[in-house]
């Protein structure tokens, strides 16, 4: 039996073990693969820093992802929250996932130092869970209070200092939607296309192919794609975090996968010829 035939008959569970171990090794011993900055990520960062953000501007940060997508979306959201807070912007946090509260707690952990200088209700507010899909996002643009009569903790919006005079898309400087599905598109169709609102997407890698044309067409002023986008943003802000650490592991896993695909194809060609 040739080496290739033996490899073809190896239990797939062996490959799973190799993969899992290969994923863990870079965390224990970082390799430091170089990371280049994509234009779409740079434009996102430039759109939320310096002259693009005025002190006191109110931005929406949409947590459109659940706990399972934290490795993909959260590093970018962390950097964007830091950047906006450091420019003196105020942030409305909200999200359409029922575990949105866990993500809100997580952002407090990952942006701890910046939150320490901010006051709830004056610099940021958490509106909580939103349901209703595209209709709710459209309604949010015309009357925030009809979708959120109170914040997540039950305080009426009229009693929250930061929300005084903030009720429509005209009072919002920009929207950052981070999501695994449709909510970025809902904000695009019901905010950006309808009213020309400033919108950027922090998406998962799986949606990168559909998000990129929208960034190129100008619907998104910037775009971060998956954990790779998060790593690029961490480099841009100058504070390396979990995405940069994870990139080595992801790169190793991809190299392993490419190697397995090539090996599998060589094996198939050899077997076909011999038979």
């Amino acid at each position: 039996m040739s080496v290739l035939s033996k490899l073809a008959n190896v239990d797939s569970r062996v490959f799973y073990w190799i993969l899992f171990i290969a994923l863990m090794v870079p965390f224990l011993s970082p390799i430091g693969f170089p990371i280049t900055i994509a234009e779409n990520t740079r434009e996102l960062y430039e759109g939320i820093t310096e002259d693009e953000v005025n002190e006191g501007d109110v931005w929406i940060m949409n947590f459109g992802y659940g706990v399972s997508a934290w490795p993909e979306c959260h590093p970018s959201v962390t950097v964007c929250t830091k950047a906006l807070f450091r420019e003196g912007a105020k942030i409305i946090f909200m999200g359409p996932h029922y575990d949105v509260e866990l993500t809100y707690n997580k952002i407090h952990d990952t942006v701890r130092e910046d939150f320490a200088n901010k006051v709830y209700g004056e610099d940021y507010v958490f509106l909580g869970y939103i349901t209703g899909g595209e209709s709710a996002i459209a309604q949010l643009a015309s009357n925030i209070r009809s979708v959120y009569p109170t914040d997540h903790f039950g305080t009426p919006l009229d009693q929250i200092p930061m929300m005084q005079g903030v009720n429509t898309h005209e009072d919002i400087a920009g929207v950052l939607s981070s999501d695994t599905g449709d909510y970025g598109v809902h904000f695009m169709t019901q905010w950006q296309a309808a009213y020309g609102s400033k919108l950027a997407e922090i998406g998962i890698a799986m949606n990168g192919s559909t998000d990129l044309p929208r960034w190129q067409a100008g619907n998104y002023f910037g775009l971060s794609i998956g954990s790779r986008g998060g790593a690029e943003l961490e480099i841009l802000i100058g504070e390396l975090g979990e995405a940069t650490t994870a990139m080595d592991s992801i790169s190793v896993s991809h190299l392993l996968l490419i190697f397995a695909v090539i090996l599998g194809n060589i094996g198939m060609v050899v077997q076909r010829r011999s038979s």
């Binding site: 797939s12 569970r13 799973y16 993969l19 899992f20 994923l23 863990m24 965390f27 224990l28 399972s68 997508a69 934290w70 490795p71 993909e72 029922y98 575990d99 869970y129 349901t131 899909g133 595209e134 209709s135 459209a138 979708v147 959120y148 009569p149 109170t150 039950g154 695009m188 169709t189 019901q190 950006q192 296309a193 309808a194 998962i204 890698a205 799986m206 949606n207 990168g208 192919s209 044309p213 929208r214 190129q216 067409a217 100008g218 619907n219 998956g226 954990s227 790779r228 979990e242 650490t245 994870a246 592991s249 992801i250 896993s253 991809h254 996968l257």
Partner: protein, 205 residues
């Protein structure tokens, strides 16, 4: 203390779920799977119930009488559970479909058609040879891919070449999608690998 216990429970449940690719359907996997479904369902019900109370019932109790309309429409949907009154549920569902369709049309034409077409047919003004290559690549890919789905005529004669090229472009596009999907799934797996090491205190939390 409770945080530590929670971390270890999460760690254990993760291993139970990942036992599936290694040992197929097994009691550990099924236990974790059923727990996941149960807890997710419970959180979903509580969150949505609280949301209805916050958005609709509380304002109604405070005197906003108009809130009775969405509340009644919402309750009407439950009539689909009773076979002889199923027709009642069609009214709120029809309203939802109509509203969604109207909003969708309002928002979709500009970004998904107008902006996309303008961006595709606008020749690059900067970026040099590479920008022109990308512009032509997209143009040829778009035209040939659309021709591939032109099923009125048989793909023979002058249509044979462009439709074959179109098929190649579609395959490249699907490959790109699949590559992005693999990246997404692997990133999630990487997150779990990181969590695995963090709980064991081999890397910082």
């Amino acid at each position: 203390m409770w945080d530590v216990i929670g971390l270890w429970i999460g760690w254990l449940l993760m291993l139970m779920i990942y036992s599936y690719p290694l040992y197929k359907e097994n009691p550990a996997f099924r236990t974790a799977e059923h727990m996941f479904i149960g807890v997710t369902l419970a959180i979903s019900i509580i969150t949505n119930f609280s949301n209805v109370m916050r958005m609709c019932v509380t304002p109604l109790m405070q005197g906003n009488i108009l809130m009775i309309v969405p509340l009644v429409l919402g309750l009407m949907i439950f009539s689909m559970l009773i076979p002889e009154y199923q027709w009642v549920s069609r009214y709120p569902i029809g309203l939802l479909v109509g509203t969604g369709f109207g909003l969708g049309i309002r928002g979709t034409i500009k970004p998904n058609l107008q902006d996309a077409i303008i961006d595709t047919i606008t020749a690059p003004t900067s970026g040099g040879a590479m920008a022109w290559f990308n512009f032509l690549y997209v143009a040829v890919g778009l035209i040939c891919s659309i021709m591939y789905f032109m099923l009125t005529f048989e793909h023979k004669g002058p249509l044979q070449g462009p439709t074959r090229i179109g098929r190649l472009f579609i395959m490249v596009g699907l490959g790109g999608y699949f590559g992005n999907t693999v990246l997404f799934r692997f990133t999630m797996l990487t997150g779990r690998a990181q969590f695995f090491l963090q709980v064991l205190k081999l890397i910082p939390m």
